[in-house]
C-alpha cells in the first residue's frame, strides 16, 4: 500500500490541521440558552430586512418606542407615554430617561429622530422597511426626552409597528462613526442583551446587558444557531444540544413528545392559510361556484388529520389574535350535497377542472392540497395540483395574474391587525390582488385607515371580513398554531406566537 498509504496520511494531517483552524462555537455554558432559528437574517440593521426570524434575535438586542409582550399586548418601551395632538396629525412621545445603548451612548430624542430620518431617508430606500412607515412625515425633537411624529396621513397600526423591525431605535453616534456596513454585523441597541459574536450563516451569540433599563436579564447569554431544516432542529433538540427548536415539523411532534426532558409548546400563531380564487376567469368567476367549492371542503377534518389539531378553522384571512377577528363570523358549513346542488344550479358540468397553484416547498400543505383535491372530486370537480417554488409563486405568478383557478396564500400578519392583510389582499392595485377591483370594498378598507379610534376600526374591519366572505373571494382554510420544542430546563418562557422571543425573564437550570 506504499504509494497510496502516504496520501491518506498527509491528507489526514491536513484534515486535522484544518479541523483546528475552524473555531468551534462557544461551549454550552451554564446560564446560557441555546436557540435554533431557521434563518440568518443576514443583516442585524433593523431597516435592512423583512426576514421574520430577524425579530427573534432583534427583539433582544433592540427596543422600540413600544414593546409587544408574549400576550401580544402593547406596553411602553423606550417611550413611557404618548398622546395624539392637533386632530391626530401629531403624536407626542415622552421618552424614558437614563437609558443607554450598549456602547454607552445615551438614548434620547436625537436618537429617535436619527432612527426615523435614516429609515425614511436614503439609507432606508435601499431596504424593504421604508414602505411600512410612509405615513410618518417627519420626526421633530421637542426636548431631550420628547419627540413629535408629524403624520402625513393617519396610520392606526403605527404604534404596533413601532414595537418591531424597522422602527427599532438605533445609536446615532455609533452608526455615523462606524458606517452602515459595520453596523449590519455589529448591531448595538438598548435591548436586554448585547452582541458577543456573529458568524454569518452559522451562529450568533448574545451576552446579558447588565445596564438594561428594565433590569438585567437572568440569563448569562443566548446562543442562536441558524438551522434551516426543521428535522435537523428536532434532532438537535432530542440530542439535548439546543433548548428551543423554533420550527418543529408536525410529523415529528409525536416523536418529540416521547423524548425525555423535552416538551412541545403551542400557541395561536399569526399565520393564516387560505386558497384564493381567480375571480376573473374560469368557473371560479362565478360567486355561487366559489361558495360551492368552499362548502365542498371539510376543513375540520383537514385540521384534525393533517395538522394533527395544530390549527383552527377560520372564516376570514386571520387568526383569533388578530385585531378585527370576529368570533361570530362562521365559515360556510361543510356540505357536499349542498355544494353539488349549487354547482348544478350554476351550470357547472360534472368533471370540470380547476387548477390549484401552491407552494410546493411546504410538505404539510402538499397533503392539504391533496385533501382539497379529494373533496372537490367528491362534488365532481377535478383538480390539477400545480406546485411552485414559494418565491416564484408569490413574486411572479400571483402579482402578474397568471395563477390557476385557485391559489395558495399564506400570510403572517406580524402586526396582528387585519388591516395589514386585508388592505394588501383586497384593495385595488395592490401587488397581491391581481383579479379584484371593487370600489365599495376599497372604500371600506380606506375608511378604517383614516381613524385611530379602535372601536370604529374594529367594526369596519369586521365589516371587511363579512364583505369578503359574502363575496367568497377566498376559501378560508385555517390559522396555524406556532409549534416549538422546548427543553424542560428552560423556565419562565412565555412563547409569543409571532416568534419575537424576549428572554428577559427566562432562566435555565
Amino acid at each position: 500500500m506504499f504509494a497510496l498509504s502516504k496520501t491518506p496520511l498527509a491528507l489526514g494531517a491536513a484534515l486535522v490541521a484544518s479541523t483546528l483552524a475552524i473555531a468551534a462555537p462557544a461551549a454550552h455554558a451554564a446560564g446560557t440558552l441555546n436557540v435554533a432559528i431557521t434563518q440568518d437574517a443576514g443583516s442585524w440593521d433593523p431597516i435592512d430586512t423583512f426576514v421574520t426570524w430577524w425579530g427573534s434575535v432583534g427583539s433582544n438586542i433592540y427596543d422600540g418606542l413600544t414593546i409587544r409582550g408574549a400576550d401580544m399586548k402593547l406596553v411602553p418601551g423606550l417611550a413611557t407615554s404618548w398622546e395624539f395632538l392637533d386632530n391626530d396629525t401629531r403624536i407626542r412621545f415622552k421618552l424614558r430617561d437614563k437609558v443607554v445603548f450598549h456602547n454607552g451612548e445615551p438614548f434620547n430624542a436625537a436618537a429617535v429622530k436619527f432612527t426615523f430620518d435614516r429609515l425614511l431617508g436614503e439609507e432606508g430606500k435601499k431596504g424593504p422597511q421604508q414602505s411600512n412607515y410612509n405615513a410618518i412625515g417627519k420626526v421633530e425633537v421637542v426636548d431631550n426626552l420628547t419627540v413629535d411624529f408629524h403624520m402625513k396621513q393617519p396610520d392606526p397600526v403605527l404604534l404596533t409597528k413601532l414595537a418591531g423591525y424597522g422602527a427599532m431605535i438605533v445609536p446615532p453616534k455609533y452608526i455615523t462613526e462606524k458606517g452602515d456596513a459595520y453596523f449590519n454585523e455589529h448591531p448595538v441597541g438598548t435591548g436586554p442583551f448585547k452582541l458577543a459574536e456573529y458568524k454569518p450563516k452559522t451562529s450568533l451569540s448574545l451576552v446579558r446587558n447588565d445596564a438594561y433599563w428594565a433590569g438585567a436579564p437572568k440569563l448569562d447569554g443566548v446562543n442562536y444557531r441558524f438551522i434551516a431544516e426543521p428535522g435537523t432542529q428536532a434532532s438537535e433538540l432530542q440530542a439535548g444540544r439546543i433548548d428551543i427548536a423554533s420550527a418543529i415539523p408536525l410529523g415529528m411532534v409525536a416523536t418529540i413528545k416521547k423524548a425525555p426532558n423535552v416538551k412541545v409548546v403551542t400557541t395561536s400563531g399569526p399565520v393564516a392559510v387560505v386558497l384564493r380564487f381567480n375571480t376573473k376567469s374560469g368557473i371560479t368567476a362565478n360567486k355561487e361556484v366559489r361558495k360551492a367549492l368552499i362548502m365542498a371542503v371539510d376543513r375540520e377534518a383537514i385540521i384534525k388529520q393533517i395538522l394533527l389539531g395544530y390549527g383552527k378553522p377560520i372564516a376570514s384571512f386571520q387568526g383569533e389574535l388578530s385585531f378585527g377577528f370576529d368570533p361570530d363570523l362562521k365559515p360556510l358549513p361543510f356540505s357536499q350535497a349542498e355544494a353539488r346542488k349549487m354547482l348544478q344550479a350554476a351550470g357547472v358540468k360534472m368533471g370540470s377542472t380547476v387548477q390549484l397553484d401552491f407552494r410546493g416547498t411546504d410538505p404539510t400543505f402538499r397533503e392539504v392540497a391533496q385533501a382539497v383535491a379529494g373533496y372537490l372530486q367528491g362534488v365532481g370537480i377535478r383538480t390539477t395540483l400545480k406546485p411552485y417554488e414559494t418565491g416564484v409563486l408569490i413574486n411572479d405568478i400571483i402579482p402578474s395574474g397568471k395563477t390557476g383557478d385557485m391559489f395558495h396564500f399564506v400570510w403572517g400578519g406580524w402586526t396582528y391587525d387585519y388591516d395589514n392583510t386585508a388592505y394588501l389582499m383586497y384593495h385595488t392595485g395592490q401587488k397581491w390582488n391581481p383579479y379584484d377591483s371593487d370600489p365599495a370594498l376599497d372604500k371600506i378598507l380606506e375608511s378604517q385607515r383614516a381613524t385611530y379610534d379602535t372601536k370604529t376600526r374594529q367594526a369596519v374591519l369586521r365589516n371587511v371580513a363579512r364583505y369578503v366572505a359574502d363575496n367568497a373571494l377566498e376559501l378560508p382554510l385555517y390559522s396555524q398554531d406556532t409549534v416549538i420544542g422546548v427543553n424542560d430546563r428552560v423556565k419562565n418562557f412565555a412563547v409569543p406566537g409571532d416568534i419575537r422571543y424576549r428572554f428577559n425573564e427566562v432562566t435555565v437550570d
Binding site: 504509494a3 491528507l11 468551534a24 443576514g42 443583516s43 434532532s235 438537535e236 440530542a239 406580524w414 395592490q430
Partner: protein, 307 residues
C-alpha cells in the same frame, strides 16, 4: 510537462469563464431580488422596488453587471450579499474550508472502506464473501443520501448519542456527514476496485511475483494495487464533482456551515452575488482537482510521465 500544464491551465480558465457567464445569466432568470427582499413588506410601490434595485446595482445592463463582477473576481472581491451586505469573500472564506474538509474526509473514508473490501472480493471471487460484499455495495448504492443521513443521525446521535447530529462542534461533528458520503461513494468504488483487481491478478507479472515466493500481502498491496490505482484515481477525480454536488444535500441535512448551505440559501433568497461567488469557487475547486488528478497519473505511473 510544461506544455501539458499550460494547455490544461488555459482549458481550466476557459471553463471558469464559461461557468461564471452561465451562472450570472442563469441566476437572473430565477427572479427579482427586490421583490424577494420586500416580500413581507406592506404596500410596496414600483418606486420602492426601483429604489432597492438601484441600491443593489440591478438597474444597470447585464454586461455591465457581469464585467463589474468579473473585475471583482480577479481581485478576489466577490461583492456583497444582497441580504445584509456581508462580504461574499468572507462568507466563502468561512464556508469553503468546511466543505473541503467534509469532501476530503468523505473521500478518504470511502477509500479506507472500499479498497480493502474490493480487494477482498476480488481475491475471494465467487465465494460467499465476494457475494456478500457485492450485495452490500448494491444496498449502499440504493440508499438515497438524505435518507441514510437521517438514519445515521437517528442511530448515532439520538438513540446512541455518540456524535453531534448537526453543525460544527469540533472534529466529532465530521463523523456523521463524512460517513454518509463515504458509504454512498464506497458502494461504486468497491465494484471498481474488485473488477480492476481481478484483471490485474490474472496478469503475468503477478504470477511471476507469486512464483518468486513473495508473500500474498506484498503481491496484493505492492504489485497489484499500484496497477489498480490509475482507474481508481481517475474515478475518484470524476467522483469529486458528484461528491461536491451530493454535499449540498448532506450539508443541508447536517446544517454543515459549508458551500452547499451557502449556495442553497442564496438560491432561495435570490442573492445573486453569493450564488455567483459560491458557484464560481466550487467550479474552480473541481477544475483544480481534475488538474491534480491528471498530474497524479504521472506520479503513480512512470509510463505516463515519459509520454
Amino acid at each position: 510537462m510544461t506544455g501539458f500544464l499550460i494547455k490544461r491551465g488555459l482549458q481550466a480558465l476557459f471553463v471558469i469563464l464559461a461557468v461564471t457567464l452561465l451562472v450570472a445569466f442563469a441566476v437572473r432568470l430565477t427572479g427579482d431580488p427586490a421583490l424577494m427582499l420586500s416580500q413581507g413588506a406592506g404596500s410596496v410601490t414600483e418606486q420602492d422596488l426601483a429604489n432597492i434595485r438601484q441600491a443593489l446595482g440591478l438597474n444597470r445592463p447585464f454586461y455591465v453587471q457581469y464585467l463589474t463582477y468579473m473585475q471583482g473576481v480577479f481581485t478576489g472581491d466577490f461583492g456583497a450579499s444582497f441580504m445584509g451586505g456581508t462580504s461574499v469573500s468572507r462568507l466563502i472564506g468561512d464556508a469553503l474550508p468546511a466543505t473541503l474538509m467534509l469532501a476530503f474526509s468523505s473521500l478518504i473514508l470511502s477509500i479506507v472502506i472500499s479498497v480493502p473490501l474490493g480487494i477482498r472480493a476480488a481475491v475471494k471471487k465467487g465465494t460467499s464473501t465476494d457475494q456478500g460484499i457485492r450485495i452490500l455495495s448494491l444496498v449502499g448504492l440504493s440508499f438515497p443520501n438524505f435518507w441514510l443521513a437521517l438514519m445515521l443521525v437517528l442511530l448515532l446521535a439520538i438513540v446512541f448519542p455518540i456524535f453531534p447530529p448537526s453543525g460544527w462542534d469540533g472534529p466529532m461533528s465530521l463523523v456523521l456527514p463524512s460517513l454518509t458520503m463515504a458509504i454512498i461513494l464506497s458502494a461504486t468504488t468497491v465494484r471498481l476496485v474488485r473488477t480492476t483487481m481481478l484483471e490485474t491478478l490474472s496478469a503475468q507479472y503477478i504470477m511471476v511475483a507469486r512464483s518468486k515466493g513473495l508473500r500474498e500481502r506484498v503481491v496484493l498491496y505492492k504489485h497489484a494495487l499500484r496497477n489498480c490505482a490509475i482507474p481508481l484515481i481517475t474515478y475518484l477525480g470524476l467522483q469529486f464533482g458528484n461528491l461536491i454536488g451530493g454535499i449540498v444535500v448532506i450539508e443541508k441535512v447536517f446544517n454543515w456551515p459549508g458551500m452547499g448551505t451557502l449556495a442553497f440559501d442564496a438560491i432561495g433568497g435570490r442573492d445573486y452575488p453569493v450564488l455567483q461567488g459560491s458557484v464560481t469557487v466550487l467550479a474552480l475547486v473541481i477544475v483544480i482537482v481534475n488538474l491534480v488528478v491528471d498530474i497524479a497519473y504521472g506520479i503513480v505511473d512512470p509510463r505516463i510521465r515519459t509520454k
